[in-house]
Amino acid sequence: MIRVVLPAHLRTLARIEGEQRFEIGGPATIAAVLDAVEARHPMLRGTIRDPATGKRRAFVRFFACERDLSHDPLDAPLPAAIANGAEPLLVVGAMAGG
């Protein structure tokens, strides 16, 4: 079970509250987590990663275990604490605007 915290605007768009939990069948990667997020909440397709290229949107970041995973390959294994549900994966809208 993987815990995911989405930014407020995306929780509103998906009509959900609080932390979300997902079972990932294969290896725990950001790509696999995003696949699960988009499968349960189709309205979030395109809001975290570009639907054509699959790349992370420029102003979206992935934080976990006090690390910035945003520049890791999307298919890189997530830290064990994320994979076993001890820590949440944070999907963050980057601070911008002064």
């Binding site: 768009l13 395109g46 054509a52 809208g93």
Partner: protein, 371 residues
């Protein structure tokens, strides 16, 4: 008694303003999609309860929302706008080639007869169409693949397809405008397009009367006479009486002829409205006086409409899609400003009142006249 619904897109959400046919007391609904930019909201002429909204953000990209109950509730629909084939390049601001990249939907134009069919004008400039109520979108790529496409260049707001007019007498014909490429027309439902810019002159271009490259800000037509088009160009207000084949300037006595929106009176095809703005470098009204100008002669002769509008210290702008009319008698005129005011006239522009004063900057405004 008839009712009026005003659909307002702003920098931070959408608002739905409602009134009875007197248009004196208003309910303000919203914000919908709070915190997101809403470039456009428009209702289907075939089913007024069917609304579509373009919701976008620099963080999370493009979302399209649809309402089936007149804006009370909304649901996201498809948001994939994939260019047809390898999109190639257009010109960047500095004249170098730049890849075509989808940024956002500027304008949604529902079909005149089918609530599930909608056209979407996007940045980087292209035209998309849905026939399933927004679930999926396909590009009408004949426009972008017009031979002039690689020479199109963005205006200051981006290279956007911002205006879509459907011809009520000919379902195969539509008009679009792109900043800064110009106006285009199709006579075969979007398969092929031709530039319709003869007569436009733009001093900003090396060739002032080039076939493409003009910064057309907005177009208007009257449903009873769709072969006559009115245009607010970057500078100059123009008119064509042959579906865009030829244009002539009708700026006449306008103080500055720079501006963004242009619209037609609902019942008088020769009555036209513009909002003059001082200049392209000073996007606010001349002398701090907000004035709508009306021509009852199809152009050339214009009168200032000022009653109820601020006549001192006003430095807002009115964007291209932020003016619309209702179909009541007398015709109602509405516009929103970058200062967040929405003004309404229930007497064809003779006098104005603010419906609401402190919304986020208004990006667009549409009006529905309801039974």
């Amino acid at each position: 008694m008839s009712r009026v619904r005003v659909l307002v897109g702003t920098r931070k959400g959408a608002f739905v303003l409602s009134s009875d046919g007197n248009r004196e007391k208003w309910d303000v609904g919203g914000p919908h999609f709070a915190g997101w930019e809403v470039y456009h909201v428009k209702g289907s002429p075939a089913d007024p309860n069917r609304l579509y909204a373009s919701q976008s953000s620099g963080w999370f990209g493009q979302v399209i929302q649809r309402s089936d109950d007149g804006g009370t509730s909304w649901n996201p629909v498809g948001n994939t706008f994939a260019y047809d084939g390898v999109p190639g390049t257009h010109q960047w601001y500095d004249g170098t080639p730049h890849p075509w990249e989808f940024a956002r939907v500027w304008h949604l134009e529902p079909s005149l007869g089918d609530p599930d069919t909608v056209f979407a004008g996007v940045e980087d400039a292209a035209l998309f169409k849905t026939t399933d109520g927004g679930a999926s979108w396909n590009e009408l790529s004949g426009l972008r693949k017009h031979g002039s496409g690689p020479h199109w260049q963005p205006g200051a707001g981006g290279m956007c397809l911002h205006t879509i007019l459907l011809d009520p007498k000919d379902p195969e014909r539509m008009f679009v405008a792109i900043s800064a490429a110009g106006a285009f027309r199709t006579d075969d439902a979007g398969a092929t397009w031709k530039p319709i810019n003869k007569g436009l002159r733009s001093a900003q271009l090396p060739d002032e009367d080039a076939e493409v490259g003009h910064c057309v800000h907005n177009l208007a037509l009257h449903p009873a006479r769709p072969s006559t088009l009115f245009m607010q160009k970057h500078w100059d207000v123009m008119r064509s009486d042959d579906a865009g084949e030829h244009w002539r300037e009708i700026s006449g006595n306008l103080p500055p002829d720079f501006g963004f929106p242009i619209d037609d009176h609902a019942h008088e095809p020769e009555t036209v409205y513009v909002v003059p703005i001082k200049s392209d470098s000073e996007h606010f009204p001349l002398d701090g006086k907000l004035q709508v100008y009306r021509s009852r002669t199809g152009g050339d002769e214009w009168e200032a409409l000022t009653k109820g509008l601020p006549q001192q210290n006003c430095y807002v702008n009115v964007l291209r899609d932020a003016m619309a009319v209702d179909a009541l008698d007398a015709c109602g005129i509405y516009f929103g400003t970058t200062g967040g005011q929405v003004y309404a006239s229930n007497d064809a522009g003779d006098s104005w009142n603010p419906i609401v004063r402190d919304l986020p900057p208004v990006l667009s405004l549409e009006v529905q006249t309801l039974p």
